[in-house]
Amino acid sequence: MSARPFASILDSLTRQRWVTAALVVSERDGIVVESNLQIGQSGDKVAALAASLYRKARLSAKAAGMGAVAFMQLEAPGGRICAVGGGDLVLVVVAEPAVNVGLVRVELLRAVSELLAIGGSEELL
């Protein structure tokens, strides 16, 4: 097992223009599994908060019978936080306002299957 199993996912996300951080976080406890951060950024807190937001979104969707959450985006004047979930893991991206959200969304959704595969989803058949 590689020391950085999610490196290729995180690298492809942080290569996107205006993306400042990409993290794989455990949804259950908000702990960072792996991250690509810019110098000076602290990932722990944002990981915990993003995981908490994603969890709330997932539980409210479940309460409303809407099925699984595919993509989440938080918007603020100074930037965006985007996230997708795969199993117990959440892939989080922090970006500046000018980021092409459409591209980030596509990249994140594309990464879900890889996240599941590396994160240990059961291969049933």
Binding site: L49, A63, L74
Partner: protein, 275 residues
């Protein structure tokens, strides 16, 4: 409740005998676990061997609903009704699909057909009442967007009813504790699940604010999440409240944003006592 062990056992059984009909309980177990792609694959493969197996088509319809593919769900339930006229689950399902697509008369026809079979559970009765109400409300929607529907001006449940343009759109205003202030959050079966959704979303405002402050992004303006069947958008409201808007997955994201703005404006006026 199906467990991972059940799935493994059923998978083994199917592997031993690929021609068996065990693909239905296996597909159902996978669906319940949220493994929709795998459930779809298993069921489609099973139906290739058993193209006239009613339970297989019924399952494929339910998987399609979970995936947000209502057209396919409708086609599959249509097939079920052709193979087994009067099939209860298919009639309920087609009622649901028609309701989601705003075809209230057809929805009522299918649900009433299911009810006529004498097996009227609470959920079906509630869905039928809701579809009939939705049909009446759709007919009564005023053309003047500045007015609320007649007779509902003082009922906070209808605060957003003239802002939302389609039947599958729903909006809710929550206070800082996640309690419903106005609007409704109507699930596909007609139940108002506003309190449940509010309870799960309580604390979102605080978590969003802490995240954006920590990253120096400024005050958050919106959160959007896409599910298999819906798009849910949220915006901060007065006094640490939260506005929640849900639309169908087919609604363009730009329109979702505009609807969110309109609902926010309506909520602001209502909170300020201007409505």
């Amino acid at each position: 409740m199906q467990t991972a062990d059940d799935v493994r056992r059923l998978s083994d059984e199917l592997a031993r005998d690929p021609g068996s009909r065990v693909f239905v309980p296996l597909g159902e177990a996978l669906r319940r676990q949220g493994q929709l792609d795998l459930a779809l694959k298993v069921t489609v493969r099973g139906l290739e061997r058993h193209p006239h197996f009613v339970d297989g088509h019924d399952l494929l319809a339910r998987i399609s609903v979970d995936r947000g593919d209502l057209e396919r769900a409708f086609d599959e339930w249509d097939m079920v009704l052709r193979l087994s006229p009067g099939h209860l689950s298919a009639q309920k399902g087609m009622g649901f699909v028609c309701y989601q697509q705003g075809r209230f008369s057809e929805a009522e026809k299918y649900l009433a057909g299911a009810a006529e079979q004498g097996d009227v559970d609470e959920q079906l009765a509630a869905a039928l009442v809701h579809v009939r109400d939705a049909r009446r409300e759709a007919a009564a929607i005023p053309r003047d967007p500045s007015r609320l529907p007649a007779g509902t001006a003082h009922d906070p449940r209808f605060l957003f009813s003239d802002v939302l343009v389609e039947a599958e759109q729903t909006a809710l205003l929550l206070d800082r504790d996640g309690l419903v202030l106005a609007g409704a959050y109507v699930a596909w079966d007609g139940r108002d699940v506003g309190q449940e959704v509010g309870a799960e979303l309580s604390g979102v405002t605080d978590a969003a604010r802490r995240a954006t402050r920590h990253l120096s992004l400024g005050e958050w303006t919106s959160i959007v999440f896409e599910t298999e069947v819906a798009v849910v958008a949220m915006a901060p409201a007065a006094s640490d409240g939260l506005l929640v808007l849900a639309t169908s997955r087919t609604t363009p994201l730009g329109l979702v944003r505009r609807l969110l703005d309109r609902c926010t404006d309506r909520a602001r006026k209502w909170m300020g006592g201007r409505i």
